[in-house]
C-alpha cells in the first residue's frame, strides 16, 4: 500500500509542476504606446492573416512587393486563413494562448470577440500621430492619416470602426459591400409592373386587392398570379433582411451597450406575421430555407419555374452582382434591373433610406515589440489609402472600395461610366453603392453580436414555418420563436 501512495504522490507532483508552468505564461500585455519616432527602421517580421481567395492573393502580393520597396526591413508573411469563420477560429485559438498575428482581416463581430482578451490595438493615437517617417526612396509621410486621407473614406464604412460603443477606433475598413435588389426587368416591363420601393401595403389590404401598387406585397401577389409555379422573391441572407427591416421600421434590433437585445417587441411580431403569410403563400424563399447550399441567385437566373425554382426579384449582396446575370448556358435571357432595396415608405429619399452594409475590415493586434505594431500600421495604411490597390481588389472580389478617390482613378472611372446591368454588372453595383452611401448603416458590434446575427436567421426560418391555425395560435407560435431567440442571445 505504501508504494501505491508514493506513486500517486509522484503523479500529483508532476501534474502540479505542469500546471504551475502553464499558469505563469506571460499573461498581460502592456497596452500599445507609440514608440518615440514611430518606426525606427529595425528589421521586423509581421504576419498578415487574410481570408482572401487564392486569386485575390496575387493582387495583394504585387502591392506587398511595392511596400517592400518603401520599407525593405519589414518582411510581411501573408497567411491565408480560409473563409471568414475559419479565419476567426484560427485567430481566436491563437489569442487564447497568448499568441496573435500582427494584422488580420476581420468583421466587427470578430473584433468584439478578440477584444475580450484586450488584444486589439486602439487606432486613434496612430491615426492622429504626426510623427514623420522617411521611406527608403527618401520620400516622407506622417505616421497617421492626413485630413485628406481621413475624409477620403466613405463615412459609413469609416465609422464602422468606432461602432463598439466606446467611441474608440479599433479597425480600418478594407472593402465593403451592401445589399441591392435585382429584378427581372423584361418581365416587369412586359407586365407594366412598377418596381416596388417599399415593403408593406399602406392600405393594409392583402395581395392583389391592395391599391398600393408600388408595395412589395402587391408586386409579389402580382408575379405569383402571373406565374403560379414561381417563387417571386429570393433573399440570399434572411438575417440581413430582418436586421434591415428592424432598422428601417426603427423597431429595434440590438445596440452595442447593455442591454443589447431590443428585437423582442410587438411591432416586430407584426412584421414577422406578414413575412410568414408571404412564405405560406410561397412568395419568397431564402438560402438557408433551401438548406444552405442552393443560392437564390440560381433561382433568379433559372429558365424554368417548375417546383418554384424560379424567382423574378433577388435581394443579395452587391459583391455577388455578377452572379445575378443569367449565363448563356442556363438558357434564360432577360435584362436585369438593379436598384435600392425597398424601404419603410414609398419614395424615401436616399438620405432617409437604410441599407445594411458589410465587408472585411483590418485590425491590428498587440505585440511585445511595439515596432511590429507600427510596421503593421504602416502596411495597413499603405494598402487601404492606395486607391489603385483598392480599385483592383474591389473589382476582382466584387467589393466596393472604401475610399472615394477611387472614382477619379482613370481605370475605375471607365468601370463606373459604362456600368450596365449586363456584363459589367459589378460596375453598376459599385456605382449604386457610391450613390447610396448616405443610406448605409452598420449593425452594432459587441461580444455576442455575431451570435445575434445567427439568431435572426433562425428566427426568420422559425417564424415562417409556424404551422397554420387561428391568428392567435400563429401569433403565439411567433412569440415563442422570438422568446427562444432572445434567450439564446442573452445566454
Amino acid at each position: 500500500m505504501k508504494k501505491l501512495i508514493a506513486c500517486i504522490l509522484a503523479v500529483l507532483l508532476v501534474v502540479s509542476a505542469v500546471f504551475v508552468l502553464a499558469a505563469c505564461k506571460p499573461k498581460t500585455k502592456p497596452d500599445f504606446v507609440i514608440p518615440e519616432g514611430g518606426y525606427d527602421g529595425s528589421a521586423v517580421t509581421i504576419t498578415f492573416m487574410s481570408s482572401m481567395g487564392q486569386d485575390y492573393g496575387v493582387i495583394l502580393d504585387e502591392y506587398l512587393a511595392e511596400f517592400k520597396k518603401l520599407y525593405p526591413k519589414i518582411t510581411v508573411e501573408h497567411k491565408r486563413g480560409g473563409d471568414y469563420d475559419t479565419n476567426r477560429d484560427v485567430i481566436k485559438t491563437q489569442l487564447s494562448n497568448g499568441q496573435a498575428p500582427n494584422l488580420a482581416f476581420c468583421y466587427s463581430d470578430h473584433v468584439a470577440l478578440y477584444n475580450s482578451s484586450k488584444a486589439v490595438v486602439v487606432l486613434d493615437d496612430l491615426i492622429a500621430s504626426q510623427i514623420e517617417q522617411t521611406r527608403a526612396d527618401g520620400t516622407k509621410e506622417i505616421l497617421g492619416l492626413t485630413e485628406a486621407q481621413k475624409n477620403d473614406f466613405i463615412p459609413a464604412y469609416y465609422n464602422e470602426g468606432k461602432s463598439f460603443g466606446d467611441g474608440k477606433m479599433y479597425m480600418l475598413p478594407f472593402a465593403k459591400s451592401t445589399e441591392l435588389m435585382y429584378y427581372n426587368k423584361t418581365s416587369f416591363d412586359s407586365w407594366e409592373l412598377p418596381v416596388p420601393d417599399h415593403w408593406f401595403a399602406t392600405d393594409g389590404k392583402q395581395g392583389l386587392q391592395t391599391t398600393d401598387k408600388t408595395s412589395m406585397e402587391y408586386a409579389l401577389a402580382f408575379i405569383r398570379d402571373k406565374d403560379p409555379n414561381c417563387t417571386p422573391l429570393g433573399v440570399d441572407s434572411g438575417a440581413n433582411w430582418l436586421i434591415t427591416l428592424f432598422e428601417q421600421f426603427e423597431t429595434g434590433y440590438t445596440k452595442s451597450t447593455e442591454p443589447h437585445y431590443l428585437f423582442d417587441n410587438e411591432e416586430n411580431y407584426e412584421i414577422l406575421t406578414t413575412l410568414r403569410r408571404w412564405y405560406q403563400n410561397r412568395w419568397f424563399t431564402t438560402r438557408s430555407l433551401l438548406g444552405g447550399n442552393t443560392y437564390t441567385s440560381s433561382y433568379f437566373t433559372s429558365k424554368s419555374s417548375n417546383d418554384g425554382k424560379k424567382s423574378y426579384i433577388s435581394i443579395g449582396s452587391s459583391a455577388g452582382a455578377a452572379k445575378q446575370v443569367p449565363t448563356a448556358d442556363s438558357g434564360a435571357n432577360f435584362t436585369v434591373g438593379v436598384t435600392m432595396i425597398p424601404q419603410k415608405e414609398a419614395n424615401t429619399p436616399i438620405a432617409q433610406s437604410k441599407v445594411i452594409s458589410q465587408g472585411p475590415s483590418v485590425c491590428l493586434f498587440n505585440a511585445e515589440n511595439p515596432q511590429e505594431v507600427v510596421a503593421s500600421w504602416l502596411l495597413a495604411k499603405f494598402l487601404i489609402t492606395n486607391s489603385a490597390f483598392e480599385a483592383r481588389y474591389g473589382a476582382a472580389a466584387g467589393y466596393l472600395p472604401v475610399i472615394q478617390s477611387v472614382q477619379q482613378l482613370d481605370g475605375y472611372k471607365e468601370i463606373l461610366d459604362n456600368a450596365d446591368t449586363g456584363l459589367n454588372m459589378a460596375g453598376m453595383a459599385a456605382k449604386l453603392c457610391l450613390e447610396y452611401k448616405e443610406a448605409l448603416f452598420v449593425s452594432p458590434a459587441f461580444y455576442g453580436s455575431s451570435e445575434a446575427r445567427d439568431q435572426m436567421e433562425i428566427l426568420l426560418n422559425g417564424c415562417v414555418v409556424v404551422p397554420n391555425g387561428t391568428a392567435d395560435a400563429i401569433r403565439q407560435g411567433i412569440i415563442a420563436k422570438f422568446r427562444d431567440a432572445k434567450a439564446k442571445c442573452e445566454y
Partner: protein
C-alpha cells in the same frame, strides 16, 4: 514473490504510457475541472489577464441553457434507440454470416466498408439521399416534388414522399434519418467483434443442440447469445459510451445548425452544446468544461449501470 527488481522493470515498461497519459490526458482533466469551477471563464479573457472567481456558476449556466433539455433528450434518445438496434442487427448479421460459406468473404468486406470512410462525407451523401427540392417547404402546401432517392423509392410503392431533412420537416422524420445513419455507421465495428466472438465458440455446443432437436430460434437465444454475452456486453458498453458522444454524425447530415432550416438546434446533442461553447462565436470554455464534466458523469453512471447489469447476466 514480487521482488523490487520486477516492480522497477514493470514501471520502466509502462513509463512511456504513463508520461504521455499524464501530459495529454490527466493534465487536461485537471485543467478542465479547474476551468469548470472558474465562473464565466474564457480562454481569451484569461489570456487578456482577466481574473475569475471560483464558484459553480458555470454549472448553473449549463442547466439554464434554453436548449439544455433538448440536447440531453436528443443524446439519450439517440443512444437508447440506436445501440440496441445496431447491436441486434450486428448480432443477426454476424450469425447469418457465420452460417454461410459462399460469398462469406465478400460480404464481410462490404459490411466493414463504412468503418473505413470519412464520416462527414458520408453524412453529406445521406443528406442528399433524404433531401427534397423546391422552395415551398414548411408552407401550407409545400411542393411534394423531391430530389432525394429515398422519396423516389417510396414513390415507386405509391407512398407519399416525406419531408425528411428540409425546412418544416418533423422532429421524428429528422430522428429517423439520424437513427438510420448512426446504425449504418455503428454496424461494422459491432459485426467485427461479434463475428470474432462467434468463431471462438466451441462447435460442439451447436452439435449437441442439433442432436437435441433445438430449433434455430431457440439455439440463437439459448446458446449463441449467452455464449456471446461477454462480447455483447462489451459492444453494448462501448456503444453507449460512443452514443453519448454523438455529434459529428448530426453535423454530417444537418450541418453546424444541428437541425433543418426553421428548426435549427432541435437535434443538438450534449457534445454539440459543448462544441458551440468551445468553437462557436461566443466561446465560453468555462461553460463548455462544466458541460463536459456533466456529460462525463452521465456516461460514467450509465457505464457503471451497464457493468452491473452485465455482471449479473453475462456468463464468463
Amino acid at each position: 514473490m514480487v521482488d523490487s527488481k520486477k516492480q522497477w522493470k514493470a514501471w520502466l515498461y509502462l513509463s512511456p504510457v504513463i508520461i504521455l497519459t499524464l501530459v495529454f490526458t490527466v493534465w487536461p482533466i485537471i485543467n478542465t475541472v479547474r476551468i469548470a469551477f472558474l465562473n464565466d471563464y474564457t480562454l481569451m479573457g484569461d489570456a487578456g489577464g482577466m481574473t475569475f472567481s471560483v464558484g459553480v456558476k458555470n454549472f448553473q449556466k449549463v442547466i439554464q441553457y434554453p436548449d439544455f433539455l433538448i440536447c440531453l433528450k436528443n443524446t439519450i434518445l439517440l443512444t437508447v434507440i440506436t445501440v440496441p438496434i445496431s447491436t441486434f442487427l450486428a448480432l443477426l448479421i454476424a450469425v447469418c454470416l457465420n452460417s454461410i460459406k459462399v460469398l462469406n468473404k465478400l460480404l464481410q468486406t462490404i459490411y466493414f466498408l463504412p468503418y473505413v470512410t470519412n464520416t462527414i462525407a458520408i453524412g453529406m451523401v445521406f443528406a442528399t439521399m433524404f433531401s427534397m427540392v423546391g422552395s415551398g417547404f414548411g408552407g401550407a402546401d409545400p411542393y411534394i416534388s423531391t430530389a432525394g432517392i429515398i422519396n423516389n423509392i417510396l414513390g415507386v410503392f405509391g407512398i407519399e414522399p416525406v419531408n425528411w431533412v428540409n425546412a418544416g420537416s418533423t422532429y421524428w422524420a429528422n430522428m429517423f434519418v439520424m437513427i438510420v445513419y448512426i446504425v449504418w455507421n455503428a454496424l461494422p465495428f459491432k459485426i467485427l467483434i461479434l463475428l470474432g466472438g462467434l468463431q471462438s465458440v466451441n462447435k460442439q455446443y451447436y452439435e449437441a443442440a442439433k442432436v437435441d432437436g433445438t430449433s434455430r430460434v431457440r439455439t440463437f437465444f439459448r446458446i449463441t447469445v449467452p455464449m456471446l454475452s461477454p462480447m455483447l456486453a462489451y459492444v453494448i458498453i462501448t456503444g453507449f459510451i460512443g452514443g453519448f458522444k454523438e455529434y459529428s454524425s448530426v453535423v454530417g447530415v444537418f450541418g453546424e445548425g444541428m437541425g433543418p432550416a426553421g428548426t435549427e438546434g432541435t437535434l443538438n446533442t450534449m457534445v454539440g452544446f459543448i462544441n458551440t461553447n468551445l468553437m462557436g462565436k461566443k466561446p465560453r470554455e468555462g461553460i463548455a468544461s462544466a458541460g463536459a464534466l456533466i456529460l462525463f458523469v452521465i456516461i460514467f453512471a450509465v457505464t457503471m449501470l451497464n457493468m452491473y447489469v452485465s455482471k449479473k447476466r453475462v456468463h464468463y
